[in-house]
Symmetry: C2
Subunit: 422 residues, 2 copies
């Protein structure tokens, strides 16, 4: 009987896992170097956790089911609700700000496509308990450091905005409910639409000509120079505060050497963002967001905790892989081992001692576990598993108290006293 | 609105995750040092995958459901079926033996209790394509190395047997079907039952007096010396082969310096084991198995692959934690960071540059992201997050081009030129 894995789910064989792990190790090291403490949350949560703020969209696209005890549960489609639940439960014991990193597997029941799988990893960084622009900057600088530590340079672009910008526009239009949602969504998608398409969607949503022109003036803005023009489109307290915050952010990020672009079409789909929002795209504009995040200052309270400012972001592993591959910096997909121990003849006990001793010295060692295998076949295997060196333990050499160490790259061989190796 | 995690699922806060990660890093390093390549499999698989060989028991105790596309799926309750599926799919491309390590989360819908949760981690080691006792020994020696690398010494005991031993007894009794299954289970549980309880179960299963006495003679055996007596209980080809294999295993393990005990009550619940089986228990006998495994030479073929000998084992994370805690070697549950950067006054830009520079040097750095926080409160926070040193960036020091570096353990402070740090 033959089986296949589910569509949208990946098997990671040793070669692929080795590359993936190298990338995730760099992400984890960057989290550590930026003072984020790792945490982990369950992979299954009560469905109710996602009904608070994630919007219906996410609930419809999850692996949700009733468990054997009759509970409605969901395989975690995103991490933030779990983190907020955890934070709210123990916030009194923790010294603030709290900086959390986590690197969970997540699941969404969506149509699998390039850069979008049903099972994926999403490294996640959050800072709880710091309201200021310094925390926004620290979060964005950490995201930037992840990409530059992975070897990316000018292949990506960081675009930032503020929810206040869109809120002010929607409020100036005097719309709410479904119309407001449609305006939100259209602005969010405007980077991938032409003006006519934007206009059509806005008219469909019920906006009048003035309203349509206001939104088009907004979505046509791009770059830090445009923040003045933004105040020309909508002037008001909320808009001015948003612009002020964004300018302070740009200045704070200069200290980190991080460049960003102001882009009012950055909205982020999640309902829970409240302030600064940011996304990172490939410079060519071919891919989905490499990462995205923002400030969510009301969510902890909505989950039963005290009023807590928070800012965070998540990295999409599939898009990151596509970007690194297109930049030709995805790690080599190959396995390796320091030593292969070949066994020739009745020398099993010595071979075992050699392997033990090398392992005790911290070496990675594969020892032949198939007695009677030919020498040639053992060397081929050593090569296939990526051994740097092969220690050949053979009856004849051992009679002189020696083994042969072969460098698998150069082919050079040297005799070494077995006592030196055990 | 307040939420709790599901019963049997754990939140790992930073302190706890730090300890858990230290343990898992050691397990991963041991896998590497023993030449196992890491792989990873999906967390959701078609239900059919578990119906092949795992027995009904496991299917009844899983998180199984119908996905939105009408497929019967299961959150993976064990890893072996996925690995065997993966091996069968690509075995032709791989040089044998294949050694795989994986460290997945797994899920079972069981009653949560000490050492048994509904969500758990299970490091898993497998060798495919090596039929001999050398591979059995390598697997068991790797399991032993995991525990000794974690710092365990005489707190645990490795017990081994062979499925042929039980098979021979069952076959000598001339029973099959449910009776055979009941005999299997009773032998498996006999370590935790007294003779009267064993007798009762066997009589209930339908065994006659002679049969009962045969099984009791088997379960009373213990230790390598008992392998001769074993042949006194049942003599036959299968039994002799099993005893021969076990003796060869004991000898092979001597080369690794690994002691084991022969214990015919080691059966392992999984239906798919075919030969040598082993379990590791705490010496006090209070806990469930720390790890267990064995040889499963027919499973790959049953999954559509070619006939492939295989041996492997899985480690139970919850029991391992209980054992390490009782031995007082569970890692300290605390977070740490190399540097905290305190910000006093209007020095944000310099503080950012100091943090960047330390991070570029590979240090783990938390920088204050709350402007205006008092000096005392910053030092308290540095202490709470486990900072080794605090760099105090203050307006007054900076006027002289200096910062203060405080050793958080000794309290010693020294002035350092800021240029040396940036």
């Amino acid at each position: 009987m033959e089986f296949e894995s589910l569509k949208g789910f990946r098997d990671f064989y040793a070669d692929e896992e080795s590359a993936r792990r190298e990338v995730f190790d760099t992400i984890r090291e960057t989290a550590r170097s930026h003072g984020f403490d790792e945490v982990s949350a369950p992979s299954l949560e009560p469905l109710g956790l996602y009904e608070v703020k994630s919007g219906e969209e996410i609930v419809n696209e999850t692996y949700s089911f009733e468990d054997k005890g009759g509970r409605d549960v969901t395989m975690t489609p995103e991490l933030t609700p779990s983190l907020v639940r955890m934070y709210a439960a123990r916030e009194q014991e923790m010294s603030k700000p709290v900086r959390w990193f986590a690197s969970p597997k997540l699941w969404r029941y969506e149509q699998p496509q390039s850069g979008r799988l049903r099972e994926f990893y999403q490294p996640n960084f959050d800072i709880f308990g710091a309201p200021g622009v310094e925390a926004d900057a620290e979060a964005i600088a950490t995201a930037d450091a992840v990409l530059s530590n992975l070897g990316l340079t000018d292949e990506y672009e960081l675009r930032v905005s503020h929810r206040g910008v869109v809120r002010a526009v929607v409020s100036s239009l005097g719309v709410d409910g479904e119309t407001a949602t449609a305006v939100h969504r259209t602005i969010d998608k405007s980077d991938r639409l032409n003006d006519d398409e934007v206009r059509e969607r806005l008219v469909d949503a019920g906006l009048d000509d003035d309203g349509v022109e206001t939104v088009l003036s907004l979505t046509s803005l791009d770059g830090w120079g445009a923040t003045d023009e933004l105040l020309g489109v909508i002037d008001g307290d909320e808009q001015r505060e948003a612009v002020e915050r964004l300018r302070a952010l740009d200045e704070a990020l200069e200290g980190y050497g991080v460049d960003t672009v102001f882009d009012p079409s950055v909205v982020r789909g999640m309902d829970y963002y409240t302030g600064v929002v940011f996304e990172c795209f490939d410079t060519d504009g071919d891919l989905r967001a490499v990462f995205g995040g923002g400030r969510y200052d009301t969510l902890v309270e909505e989950f039963g905790g005290p009023s807590t400012p928070a800012v965070g972001f998540g990295i999409g592993d599939a898009t990151l892989e596509l970007l690194m591959r297109s930049a030709d910096i995805w790690p080599a997909e190959e396995t390796s081992v320091d030593y292969y121990v070949a066994v020739i003849g009745d020398v099993r006990e010595t071979a075992t001692r050699v392997a033990r001793s090398l392992r005790d010295d911290g070496e990675e060692v594969r020892v032949n576990v198939r007695d009677g295998r030919s020498f040639g076949s053992q060397l081929e295997h050593a090569d296939a598993v990526g051994a740097t060196k092969t220690v050949i333990v053979g009856e004849r050499d051992l009679a002189d108290g020696e083994v042969t160490v072969k460098d698998m790259r150069t082919g050079e061989q040297e005799q070494r006293p077995v006592e030196g190796l055990v």
